[in-house]
């Protein structure tokens, strides 16, 4: 599906979405509060069928956090969108989508410990990679500082 | 002709002439004890190096080749290492049972040596219920494994022990029934009588198809009973790290290791005795000259040759097959081997009564 078609289709689903077409794929920015219903629509829409979430990550822009979801469809591999959601850096909270895409469960746990984003209604939001005692310390944030173990290049 | 029985008779006569009968008996028991212990040590060393060489041969590699000529002294070096290692007992373990278990394992293996005829007229104890004795005593080995698994206070050990308990108890039935077929054909429980009955042909040839079925079942069942791959679920390296002996180290581990190999030797010796004629040479009908040549080979060589052939077979299994799963293992026994052995017993009884065997 072409970018323009995708754009029209997505505008139907979510009227507040804003688009950015500079990249390889269509970038869609939505509000955090719209995310869960929007995700449901993307997954269950009979034309789009975004059933394959292949990358979930977060970017620390120092002023805000941006969640990035890369979505694709196994029915039509040319359908790919990048969903971006800006979050408040001091209190990042977003609905979990692990009920829609199972793979999100692990990816969200990783983002939770690395960036401190809280995923609401996540089935098992615990540290996955970091050892005990690292709750609240988020090493992938740009201002993270560990005076003992930090090695600077 | 030179023979082992000649030596024993000579020693016996000399002792009887020199000492009184009680002292003679005591001295003879001591000699036998020393012989058994040294046989144990030699067997352990030989079988370990054999296993490593066989596995290397199957796995396109050289195997041990540094210590001694062609690496033949490697197992001496290994034993030395195990001897000087610390025998570690975990904190939460039941110390008494933990330390007892390896000795129990080795004692069972030693007891099983008693009725085996190593050569013509060369055995420790000509027991008239030899077959019964073997199957009874070999059941005790499961206790040592359960004891080791329970006393280690380790979940891997416990699971290994429980698996092994289920496994040994199950496969004992098939092994017992397979042995019984030969008892039915011979009409005697004495291992020497069984060997004598094969003077004109081994049971695997004389006993028609039932004997061959029994032999196959026997080999499968004893492989399982000695906890060797593909039935090594009690150890199951990739699942339970080392199963029941996970927590053992040093000499205590070595004793388990030794007991396993000696058990393999014993079951193979019994297999050779029952099915392949023990120390009886290989004869073909009326080929007198061929039979004479065969007779010229000492009986002890015949016995060891057959036993080591079976040991090689069991090693071959180990390095070829993947491991079974616990439910598949029990299915194999209860759904296939046991019914087949029971039917086989009926068949062999008919054969024995009607005299269809050669």
């Amino acid at each position: 599906m072409e970018k323009e078609e995708l754009k029209l289709k997505i505008t139907e689903l979510n009227t507040t979405a804003t688009f950015d077409e500079t990249g390889e794929w269509l970038n869609v920015t939505v509000d955090a509060k719209d995310w869960l219903p929007f995700a449901h629509q993307l997954r269950n829409d009979p034309v789009l069928v975004f059933n394959y979430l292949f990358c979930v990550t977060c970017i620390d822009w120092k002023t805000q956090l941006t969640m990035v979801y890369h979505l694709s469809s196994t029915h039509d591999r040319s359908n790919t969108v990048v969903i971006k959601i800006n979050l408040d850096r001091n209190n990042p909270e977003i609905e979990s989508v692990s009920s829609i895409w199972k793979t999100a469960e692990f990816h969200e746990r990783e983002v939770y410990e690395m960036f401190g984003v809280k995923f609401l209604n996540h089935p098992d939001l615990r540290l996955l990679i970091l050892p005990d005692g690292w709750e609240g310390k988020n090493p992938m944030l740009k201002d993270f500082d560990d005076p003992v173990n930090m090695i600077r290049l | 002709m030179w023979s082992l029985s000649g030596i024993t008779n000579w020693v016996d006569q000399w002792l009887n002439a020199t000492f009184n009968p009680t002292l003679t008996l005591i001295i003879e028991m001591v000699i036998v004890g020393v012989c058994v212990i040294s046989l144990f040590a030699v067997l352990g060393l030989v079988l370990v190096i054999m296993e490593r060489k066989v596995s290397a041969w199957m796995q396109i590699r050289l195997g041990p080749n540094r210590v001694g000529p062609k690496g033949m002294l490697q197992s001496f070096a290994d034993t030395l290492k195990l001897l000087v290692k610390e025998g570690f007992t975990p904190n939460g373990a039941d110390k008494f049972l933990f330390n007892l278990a390896p000795y129990l394992a080795i004692i069972v293996a030693m007891l099983l040596m008693a009725p085996i005829a190593f050569a013509k007229d060369f055995h420790m104890w000509n027991l008239n219920i030899g077959v019964l004795y073997v199957s009874a005593v070999s059941s005790i080995s499961v206790i040592s494994i359960l004891m080791a698994g329970w006393a280690s206070n380790n979940k891997y050990s416990l699971m290994g022990a429980m698996r092994s308990g289920a496994q040994i108890v199950s496969y004992e039935l098939s092994a017992g029934l397979a042995i019984l077929t030969i008892v039915v054909l011979t009409g005697s429980l004495n291992l020497n009588d069984i060997i004598q009955s094969q003077a004109n042909g081994w049971w695997i040839f004389k006993g028609h198809i039932p004997a061959i079925i029994a032999f196959v079942i026997f080999i499968i069942a004893v492989t399982a009973e000695t906890n060797r791959a593909p039935f090594d679920l009690a150890e199951a390296e990739s699942e339970l790290t080392a199963g029941f002996h996970t927590e053992y180290s040093g000499m205590k581990f070595a004793l388990f290791f030794l007991a396993e190999y000696v058990n393999v030797f014993i079951v193979c010796a019994i297999g050779a005795t029952l099915f392949l004629g023990g120390w009886m040479p290989f004869h073909i009908g009326n080929w007198q000259s061929f039979n004479h040549v065969m007779d010229f080979i000492p009986s002890s060589i015949w016995f060891m040759g057959k036993t080591f052939f079976l040991i090689f077979l069991i090693m071959w299994f180990r390095w070829t097959f993947p491991r079974l799963r616990i439910d598949q293992l029990l299915n194999l026994e209860w759904k296939y081997l046991l019914p087949i052995s029971m039917f086989n017993i009926l068949l062999v009884t008919a054969v024995a009564i009607l005299g269809w065997h050669f």
């Binding site: 990679i129 992938m140 | 990739s238 790290t241 993947p322 799963r325």
Partner: protein
Amino acid sequence: MVEEIGTNTDGDLLINVGPQHPATHGVLHLVITLNGETIKKVEPHLGYIHRSIEKMCESLTYRQFIYVTSRMDYLSAHINNHACALCVEKGMQIEVPARAQVIRVIMDELTRIASHELWWGAMAMDIGAFTPFFHAFRERESINDIMEETCGARLTMNYMVPGGVMADLHPDFQKKVKAFISFYKTKIDEADELLTGNIIFQNRMKGVGILTKEDAISYGCTGPTARGSGVRCDIRKIYPYEIYNTLEFDEVIETGCDSLSRYLVRLKEIKQSLRIVEQLIDNIPEGDFQAKTKAVLKLPKGEFYSRVETARGELGVYIVSEGGTTPYRIKFRSPGFSNLSALDKMARGSKLGDLVAMMGTLDLVIPDIDR
């Protein structure tokens, strides 16, 4: 994080498999809830080899960061490097010379063969057959020798640079590869003879670790793991990179959804890789092995995503650039991480012995999961 050792309130046995365990091939830690021999729950705990490669890359230049990624999935190190080089080339719009493309693809496929060979041996060892391991290593060794002669390293080859490869091929390369192909063809069916046809093996693999097509997609599984469940997901076919669209090879799909299917996919994939190498080895074009690039690479401001098919599945490299010499944020979408998340779903209700068979067919490489 780690549950109390012992039993839980339902009387189930909690057992820690790993981080030091023969079946986990590295430092994976699984907390397994067992009822007898039956698995009720599998919970992975990661991080024992987490080096935060993503954070490290933020302070490395675009020339340097490629080589850190060799340490992610060390068995397909070359393919990891390839993904990173592709991403930088995409951002810089560097045209890669034809010779370099062919060399890259040949090396990719050789790496894939080596990786699958190692997997085959290790998986056989997991389910208790020791001999295949050594047979697999014999073939893998000859590939490693070729690698060593070409770029000096055997495992983490670091042969990629943005715009091509680091050095030209060794003069003996074609001869060696052809010798390897003819040798390997005599050995390739050994796998079937030794293991696949074995009745015990079939029983251990058939119907074990069922992962349905829907679940495979939902869990984001890729590579042979997903293709064993009937998902078309070979990046070389659906998003061809380099010269893959000009090559003849089949995407291997099995629809059994069980361990045996995943096993067969990998075995057949080895043959397809061999086919690719055979097509290319006589047709390596003359020319440069590296494009002319600036000494200091600067990616324009923006976001770049590239993906390749490693031996384990889809590896995605997501670079966010602010226009500097180092990435602002980099994310590696590693195949193992997603594949591992499906393990709990697959393992529930099966026996402990099956767990190792499943982990074997997922082909987990722990540094790839932890990064």
